[in-house]
Symmetry: D2
Subunit: 222 residues, 4 copies
């Protein structure tokens, strides 16, 4: 089943009350079109969003620290307690040290949270796969927010990422992101071997968020 992950980032259109509204739109699209959707609001919005929808809510970032004196860190414990079911890790806008990526995955695993590690190219995808998260999401940074879909601009990065992960850690799924907006982008991503996509501005900044999501989902099935 195709996985569609919507990263809310810190856009005005996906913060606070608008995070709730957007999450509900995602939930209704998920039900209507039988696609698996994950919403990824800011840490402070997770509690309210988790109470409002039944689809999985992931965090945008988690620190690999446990209980203790870690003021200002985002712990897997606090995410779990507030309804999150997983987290992005090492997003291009919140890169982590190698040892921190490993610690974050390990911490999530101990709290039953799913993990999506973001990477920027085939080589770092190999490294991330070796850490055995649930998913690796490869996103060439130069295409993020560009509107130019990675599946068109650089299909090789997806194809080679899929192959590399298959060799190193075959249980790890591959997602792709950067510039994905339309149904054809999603379809191309799936044909290249990925199991889903990581989206953001293409949907969130759309004039009509629901329509943008419908176009994405229905277009993919053509």
């Amino acid at each position: 089943m195709t996985l569609i992950v919507l990263n809310f980032k810190t856009y005005r259109e996906s913060t606070g009350v608008e995070a709730l509204q957007l999450a509900k739109i995602c939930e209704s699209i998920s039900e209507e079109y039988s696609v698996e959707m994950v919403v990824v609001p800011q840490a402070a919005d997770i509690h309210a969003v988790s109470e409002a929808v039944k689809i999985p809510v992931y965090a945008q970032h988690v620190d690999g620290v446990g209980y203790g004196g870690f003021t200002g860190h985002v712990t897997a414990a606090s995410l779990k307690a507030n309804g999150a079911r997983g987290s992005l890790i090492n997003h291009s806008e919140r890169r982590l040290k190698l040892a921190e990526v490993e610690a974050s995955i390990s911490s999530c695993r101990s709290f039953g949270l799913k993990t999506i590690v973001c990477t920027n190219n085939v080589v770092t995808t190999r490294a991330a796969a070796a850490l055995e998260p649930d998913y690796v999401a490869v996103e060439p940074p130069e295409l993020i927010g560009s509107g130019i879909p990675v599946s068109k601009a650089n299909p090789d990065v997806i194809r080679e990422s899929v192959n590399a992960v298959l060799k190193i850690a075959p249980k790890v799924g591959v997602l792709c992101g950067a510039g994905i907006t339309h149904g054809e982008d999603l379809r191309a991503a799936l044909e290249l071997g990925s199991e889903g996509v990581l989206l953001a501005s293409g949907i969130i900044k759309a004039k009509d968020q629901r329509k943008a999501l419908e176009d994405l989902v229905t277009g993919a099935k053509k």
Copy 2:
């Protein structure tokens, strides 16, 4: 009026459900003894805690970024939307770059959030005061979590911080922290010219959190 700020850090005893319970204890102490208390839970706990208590809820950290593509950051917008009324900035366990401290203060100000900038000595207190937050909280790092109160171990750091802030930015309040647990520590801190204290492990890890807070508050009045 004395300000008592309780930093929940990421202790097990102050995460999730236990963050709510501790916040309610703080609220009842605040009412019973007429002291001003601020609770500082993790970002993901802010929403639930803010709904549960009427005393101010602050964040442990805020990034100085606005709306946009800042995945994994904690924005003043999201804090405000979930009920926070302020934030710690630059805590010793979450230090920020100088330009980030300034941006965080500025971002909080534009959302009507109060700011407490943490510092490690008299010189950085001077610098922090020059940024004109609401409060500077000076905490010698070697005393944090030590049980040895700064007001006893190093009273000069408080006295000189108060004087330095008075010269550079007289509207900025001075708090002190590190090792504060008992009423006499708080009283000493006030006598040295601070307007309140920043607490954590001394209360949170106490066998009886309520009793520890009562001892603190009543001891200060003797």
Copy 3:
């Protein structure tokens, strides 16, 4: 006496052998036109440059750590031992945490190295001045490498920085940077109250580096 600080950054035209050549050009300009010039090569180039010229050589960055287990850090001790006489601190391309800026200044001072703390606006200039380095160099980041001189695009940031520093720490000198290339830019910077300028690409990427420096120096005197 006007201070002209040339930051070599990591340009091809100012690395290795070319760092030596450029430093010698600066030295001869300094002698010929009686201006005070400081060259700022990369850490690994400091030794050879210091042996080749008599004008002061500064580092681009220094960590506020002492002797010990700090692999990969740049210590004031190692800079001093290899001939450096000072260092930039907190350049916009190498920002430091507030406590680190303070530690770097303190470490330089104990080894007799001069310090220039870079800042991005008037408020952070105030904070940096409170740390009492030898100089604060204010550089609006949006103008760095732009070719648009700060002295023309935003004269107020210089004027207000000079005033702010005068109030907080009158012994601290003010430099300005970002977009400075021509003599008139330098003259404007001095007229606004700064004691000198921090330069980089405008000189280093010039077709004829010597001529670019001569234009700068002679233009300023008109």
Copy 4:
């Protein structure tokens, strides 16, 4: 041939003039006992050390940035120009982001510099191997500087690292470090499958550095 890498860190006994002396001791040990030694001084010391000895000189850290506006960064270009032949990357005292580790390796490769990526456990060793540096050096952080050799305290971390690297990237060599001081530690490390060791305080802080190195080298051959 066994590889012995001596990390000078920022100890007083291995900075400036003392870096030169220690490097010369290493060179003479290398010749006398026919072992391959690499010395790893601070960035500012690389030039003088490279001129003084013929054994390979590595840097302690390199940034994965190229020519351009990267003030305060350590570039492979500047290391090469000053005589370095390789670099440590991601040492536990200078951890890098995953994408930065990849960029540093890539940058070193383009300048013909060898790379040793440091890791903290078997899982991060797998990830580092996937990036295909010349060597991975596994060092459990809790043993660094402890005097307790990893080869005795935790032989499994070496054994499993060797196996993991063999599967993922068989051309990558495995070094081990943390607490290695005596010949028997080195011998144990080699018997567990590593190709050499990464040393520091055990040698540098020894009363007689030459004797400590001789003990290490001769002890390993017993």
